[in-house]
């Protein structure tokens, strides 16, 4: 267990920090350390809180994105199956990373894929059992609320898949930007 790593089910401070300007607000700046998962359940979640201004909304003047950076390691005994790491704000998912565990010549290999509004679909391939993932995406419209917001990280692992460790890095966080999603069309509003 690393220094400052929190394994609590929910992490709360007396007064969640306010995101009140453009820029990236990391978990560290919001007052949180890296977040570890026990990886013992099929589905595990960890949550942190932050606040947004009274008139916060997903566009058209300010747009909010998730920055999700994490390190994941699969157990050598893992069988071929799937795992997902996701993030949501107020229950609305904005990050979904799909891992596919494969065995080739008895060696564990991890492929993963992401889809987001900035880069579209990206496939990653590795011949190792570990992955360092960096991802960002625009939040759902309903995932942005004035006042208190809850950011939840979720690990799902199925059947023979065995995640040995998952650490959400505190370089993850929320970005506020004036730049709308690509292909966002004001005529459709």
């Amino acid at each position: 267990m690393g220094l400052g790593l929190c394994y609590g089910c929910s992490i709360s401070y007396s007064e969640p920090r306010l995101i009140d300007g453009f820029g990236v607000w990391t978990l560290k700046e919001l007052g949180y350390s890296d977040i570890g998962f026990l990886c013992t359940e099929e589905i595990e979640t960890r949550s942190v809180e932050f606040r947004l201004p009274k008139k916060a909304a997903q566009g058209p003047e300010s747009w909010y994105l998730i920055h999700l950076n994490f390190h994941i390691k699969f157990g050598e005994q893992s069988e071929e199956d799937l795992a997902y790491v996701s993030a949501s704000t107020n229950g609305y998912c904005c990050a979904q990373v799909k891992f596919r565990v494969k065995r080739e010549d008895d060696l564990l290999k991890i492929d993963w894929s992401t889809v987001d509004l900035i880069n579209g679909k990206i496939d990653y391939f590795t011949s190792s059992s570990v992955a360092d993932v960096s991802f960002k995406n625009y939040l759902q419209i309903r995932g942005v609320c004035p006042g208190l917001n809850t950011l939840t990280f979720q690990l799902e692992q199925y059947e023979g898949c065995h995640v040995e460790s998952l650490r959400i890095l505190n370089s993850s966080g929320i970005e506020c930007t004036p730049i709308p999603p690509p292909r966002w069309d004001t005529r459709a509003r």
Partner: protein, 217 residues
């Protein structure tokens, strides 16, 4: 409940209805839909029926889109929950036409998940982009589904509305999933009617036009 009511506010826009007429009927699996349309949500577009092949024509339709799995959905994730509940078989591939980039349309194929009920089956196919994931800021990560029954050795197929209700019941049994039956108008209403091909296979159209929305946490 907040999520369910909020989702209802999302407006689906039917942006076009195919009215091209074709006299060719070249496949036993091609049937004639009443309301083939393109629907849009944010920057995404999709056709509101699946097809017997990669030919976009109202005479080549198979089944109306009756299911929307949204928020944190993905093809394998959704199928795995149905397989855990005895939807352990699959059928032949059908095709769905989607457009997530705003540029090019793509075709996705799926064989679905299928549950035996006596000598009959209930069958659901689910579609996304070829990567099994779709995303927009209204529905999050979502996939689309069609539903129907296969009866009498698959010589009689259809009843999508009743099959949708069965698929919704399964979704309700998954911990954490939230279901709103007949949530949104997908503009694919089909009154109960029968089509018969040259070999005597019966295709029973039936759809209320409103798809069921399933929140995946």
């Amino acid at each position: 409940m907040i999520r369910k009511t909020a989702l209802k506010k999302v407006i689906l826009i039917a942006v076009g209805i195919v009215v091209l007429v074709s006299l060719s009927v070249n496949s036993a699996l091609a049937w004639t839909a009443s309301h083939l349309s393109t629907l849009s949500i944010e920057e995404d577009l999709f056709r509101n029926y699946d097809f017997g092949s990669d030919w976009d024509n109202y005479t080549n339709c198979s089944w109306p889109v009756t299911m929307l799995f949204w928020n944190n959905a993905e093809i394998d994730k959704v199928k795995s929950q149905y397989r855990l509940r005895d939807w352990i078989l699959w059928g032949y591939s059908e095709w769905a036409k989607l457009n997530e980039t705003g540029d090019d349309w793509i075709w996705d194929t799926d064989r679905g998940v299928k549950k035996p009920i006596g000598l009959n089956f209930i069958h659901m196919r689910v579609y996304a982009d070829s990567d099994d994931q779709l995303y927009n800021i209204s529905w999050g990560y979502y996939i689309l589904g069609t539903t129907h029954y296969d009866k009498d050795g698959e010589t009689k197929c259809g009843w999508s509305e009743e099959a949708e209700q069965q698929a919704a019941l399964v979704a309700e049994s998954v911990p954490g999933w939230g279901v709103v039956e007949d949530w949104g108008n997908f503009y694919n209403y089909e009154p109960l009617r029968k089509e018969v091909d040259e070999e005597g296979n019966e295709h029973w159209w039936q759809c209320g036009g409103y798809a069921t929305a399933v929140y995946v946490p």
